[in-house]
Amino acid sequence: MSVLGAIQLIALAGLSFALLLACLASGVARFVIALTGSWSPERRHRALFLLGIAPVVFAVFGVLAVLAPSLLALTWPEYDHCLSHGDHHLHICLVHLPRHLGNGTSWLVLALGVGWLLGKSTLALSELYRAWKSVSRLRVNGERVPAIGASVLPTAAPLCVLAGIFRPTLFLSQGLLAGIAPEQITVVLHHERAHAARRDILIRLLARVGTVFMWPSARARLLGALDLAAEQSCDEVAAASVGDRLQVAEAILRVERLLQTTSFRLAPLAVEIGGSSVPERVAALLEAPRHSGNAIPLGVGFILMLTGVLGASAPLHHLTESLLEALVHR
């Protein structure tokens, strides 16, 4: 009986599910982005987020579904299903642990998968740590101005950033406040408060984790579309708050114009031309607002699919055992 063997099987099953689902999500990402293009930004954002987190969430539920028979047997031994079938193939079971460890190929596959995941996690954590240090320094340098509900940075660079994951703080620079009109500052404040209320930074972080197994180009496309939908959702909130869509478009263009005059001086090697979402945001604001549509069916559909995965526990359990048999013991 081998605990290590059981861990190996569970890890292989989880990795396989995540990779298969990520391949599927990568394949459909382009079509989903095109399909949701005509939806309201709010609804599109939810759909793209659900697609992004689907591979990891469904992989976790898939592993739970595969383990469900043995979890059931742990709680009620009379439901132990292992006794009902022979010993002709491997068992993913927490009650009757595998008798042998897998072969060398299966360990190599697992080592490669876990190593790749650890490498990605280390890079992501170091990036997060650097970002956290930058946000801490923003907090040290910003001076809180309760009248506008933001911190002001004493720099001529035209900055307007929301920083922090769980309790984000809004930072405006003196350069931005001096460079745009008061009504445009109102737009900026409404827009950024909407990001804070929607917890967009946290959502983007979750989406980055959920899409980690996706094909890089599909992942970049999906995360880009998610960011655009978040920005457009907040533009809509700002437009509804000030009652003038053109005012929001003017504020975006004004800040973009300010950044054009300074960004190449501040970060000459980092700034790219042409990748900006400004044209799409302004174009959307020149059109009439799209009706939000009902976002509840999306969430309900997602939960139903997860329930379906758990409901298909028995066939999924046997299918996974049969597929892993080929990898681990042949």
Partner: protein
């Protein structure tokens, strides 16, 4: 730095007396911190008798300005993107001609809206 900017005496023992004891920081830590700040060119020093006497090389305002400049550079390079969201992307720009076209389009809409 704050201690020295406020006119504190720049010998390690004096810094320890004025700052280290109250915060529970040892003399060795104070000495190595002063040395590191000197190596980073934030302090300069003179040897008086057997001890180094440190003094600030940059003013408080110059230091803050430099630190903020570095921070702005990091933001513009997208190095804090994991925890930051900007009103308009900091790392990617619309082309100048494209921007001028959009500005003209919005101005035209504003004008026609005003006429109505």
């Amino acid at each position: 730095m704050e201690f020295l900017w406020d006119g504190g005496e720049g010998e390690a023992k004096a810094v320890h007396k004025g700052l280290g004891r109250s915060r529970g920081i040892g003399l060795n830590t104070i000495q190595s911190t002063l040395k590191r700040l000197y190596e980073k060119e934030l302090l300069e020093r003179d040897k008086v008798s057997h001890a180094h006497v440190y003094r600030p090389r940059v003013t408080r305002d110059e230091f803050r300005c430099n630190a903020l400049g570095e921070l702005v550079g990091e933001l513009m390079r997208g190095e804090a993107n994991a925890m930051v969201s900007a009103f308009v992307e900091l790392t990617e720009r619309a082309g100048p001609e494209h921007l001028a076209q959009l500005e003209a389009l919005v101005a035209e809409r504003r004008l026609s809206k005003g006429r109505r």
